[in-house]
């Protein structure tokens, strides 16, 4: 049994977890700064960094206590070193390296996006080759995994990320930040009565674009305001969400047709969206040889357990780092070479 302690602090969650063999969560302590950043309508990096250092030892102690594990029982320390906000990443990185030095444990560098995808293992084991739709606050991409721990990007967003578009529409509707969950709930109460454009549907690639949709929603709202019309906010939410999901579905279908894979992973913060999960489950019925493995809803947002899951992949390959490991705020997967 391999027990890995993992640290995550790339954005506004401070988290430490202990995961066994990359799939069994012994503990997952998460402190979220959401109420703080709601004051500003988005993450303020310096404020986020300050909160991380205030919480790092609390979540560390909690993770060890909940799992009832002593440092001596651990095999390695995994940590997110990118992508993310540099000041935020630094606190988790320094915390993890210090813990590793203190207890003489190897350090495993983890790509945050690999972490999001690896959380699918908390549902059931990913089977390879696999395809992942990674949809979060900062990323929207289709990722091919020919084998475990091997990632090539088939296509990605050219402008806003899907989660970002939820948050921007949320700001327009004066919803608290981040707005994804609220829009998801509103959409349930509304009807998709407004036809918004689905960008790039006909282009011959796997890329996404959400800024046109965002502009269309803004125009719609401003136009209604000018004419003094009241809008049905739930209908607007449902229509916007529908357009996002249409775009995601279209590209995913194309990728699944071009790359026959054994499993399909839905990962990232937006993977919590109930209608998206439902729509993809239905799409996957047309791909009998592909198992649908969405990340469990509890682990779609940022958390350290997912870092422990991805860390285990590196652990098996002995991909370790030294005490001089630094952050890499712009870290990304390689593009698929064509």
């Amino acid at each position: 049994m391999t027990k890995i302690i993992s640290f995550e602090s790339s954005a506004d969650e401070t988290s430490v977890a202990i995961v066994e063999d990359g799939c069994t969560i012994l503990s997952n302590a998460v402190a979220t700064q959401i109420n703080s950043h709601q004051r500003f309508g988005g993450i303020v990096p310096e404020v986020a960094s300050r909160h991380h250092i205030e919480w790092i030892t609390r979540v560390l102690d909690d993770a060890l206590q909940t799992a009832n594990i002593k440092p001596i029982e651990l095999d390695a320390v995994a940590v997110t070193y990118g992508p993310g906000l540099v000041g935020s990443l630094l606190v988790g990185l320094m915390g993890a390296k210090t813990f590793a030095l203190a207890h003489n444990l190897p350090i495993i560098p983890v790509n945050h996006l690999a972490g999001h995808i690896a959380a699918a293992n908390f549902n059931r084991p990913i089977i390879y080759p696999a395809l992942a739709l990674m949809v979060s606050g900062g990323h929207t991409e289709l990722v091919l995994m020919r084998e475990e721990n091997n990632f090539s990007v088939l296509g990605e967003t050219r402008d806003d990320a899907a989660g970002e578009s939820f948050d921007k529409v949320g700001r327009l509707l004066k919803l608290p930040y981040p707005a994804g969950k609220t829009i998801d709930d509103m959409a349930h109460l509304g009807q998709a009565t407004i036809k918004f454009p689905t960008a790039m549907a006909h282009e011959d690639n796997y890329d996404f674009s959400f800024s046109g949709l965002k502009s269309a929603v803004i125009n719609y709202v401003h136009h209604a305001e000018q004419k003094g019309e009241t809008i049905n906010r739930n209908d607007l939410a449902a229509s916007f969400q529908n357009a996002v999901i249409d775009a995601l579905l279209g590209r995913t279908r194309r990728a699944l047709q071009d790359f026959p894979v054994k499993s399909f992973v839905l990962a990232g913060g937006v993977a919590a969206n109930s209608q998206l999960r439902q729509a993809l489950a239905e799409l996957l019925e047309q791909f009998q040889n592909t198992q649908f493995i969405p990340v469990p809803q509890l682990y779609t947002g940022d958390n350290a357990a997912m870092v422990g899951a991805a860390g285990y992949w590196n652990y098996k390959k002995k991909k370790f780092a030294g005490l001089d490991l630094n952050t890499n705020p712009g870290l990304d997967f390689e593009l698929l070479e064509s």
């Binding site: 401070t14 302590a29 998460v30 402190a31 979220t32 700064q33 109420n35 703080s36 004051r39 500003f40 303020v44 310096e46 404020v47 960094s49 300050r50 909160h51 991380h52 250092i53 205030e54 919480w55 790092i56 030892t57 609390r58 979540v59 560390l60 102690d61 909690d62 440092p71 000041g87 630094l90 606190v91 990185l93 320094m94 915390g95 390296k97 210090t98 813990f99 030095l101 203190a102 207890h103 030294g322 005490l323 001089d324 490991l325 630094n326 952050t327």
Partner: protein
């Protein structure tokens, strides 16, 4: 008592080991390399060179601020996690007091860090006492305060930026140490930290930024009486 002390509050990086007040070994560099890369290898190598192990350490002393926000978080994260996980006593000292401690003078000692836009992080010290509290302030305010005294003044820290202004304002009364003469020497931090009592609650030990973020200042101005720090972060 075996002591591990470090200061990452500005560009210089200093790690020192001491047995009580006796400094045994100092690692220091003023290279503009990332403290995030250098600090832990420096701690590891310094301790190994002394033939100590981390578990021998009885007390950690860290420069708690003011200084570069990122630099402070690097040092203090390391200090907190080490102290927490190895149950070692933890002490924080003022990064300005550390510099003042290195100077022998009966007059006023003014360590200062450049905080841009004619602002400084600075305090005024006399024979070990902080007689004007460390603060983020316009350099003009500091100078006005100093003009109410007529003792000799020693400035140290980021003096290069302000040297013309200092000479113009205080003339022969002022002496300056250059930035390279103002590097933490690894001794001042030990002398200060050995006297202090360790922090009770490691989780509540955080950098002394001496400055709120602009976003918070703006928000507080627009929302008087609504600040509710207890509520901002919570465990799910």
């Amino acid at each position: 008592m075996k002591i591990l002390a470090f200061d990452t509050s500005n560009q210089p990086l200093t790690v020192s080991l001491a047995e009580d007040n006796q400094v045994k070994r100092v690692f220091s560099t003023n290279e503009a390399r990332n403290h995030s890369i250098q600090l832990l290898p420096a701690i590891q190598e310094t301790i190994a060179a002394q033939n100590w192990t981390l578990t021998d350490i009885d007390r950690i002393i860290v420069a708690q601020g003011p200084g570069s926000f990122t630099g402070l978080r690097i040092g203090i994260t390391v200090a907190k996690v080490l102290a927490d996980t190895l149950k070692i006593d933890l002490v924080g000292v003022s990064s300005l007091a550390v510099l003042a401690e290195q100077v022998t003078s009966q007059g006023l000692i003014v360590p200062l860090f450049n905080a841009r836009n004619e602002n400084v992080f600075a305090g005024v010290y006399r024979e070990g006492n902080n007689i004007l509290a460390d603060a983020h302030q316009p350099i003009a305010n500091l100078f006005n305060w100093l003009q109410t005294y007529d003792e000799p003044i020693i400035f140290l820290g980021d003096t290069d930026v302000f040297s013309a202004l200092i000479t113009e304002t205080f003339g022969a009364r002022a002496h300056m140490l250059t930035p390279s003469e103002s590097l933490p020497d690894g001794q001042g931090i030990v002398s200060l930290g050995i006297q202090a009592s360790p922090v009770i609650n490691i989780a509540d030990f955080n950098p002394q930024y001496l400055r709120k973020t602009q976003a918070e200042l703006n928000w507080l101005a627009a929302h008087p009486g609504e600040d509710n720090p207890e509520n901002y972060v919570f465990e799910v």
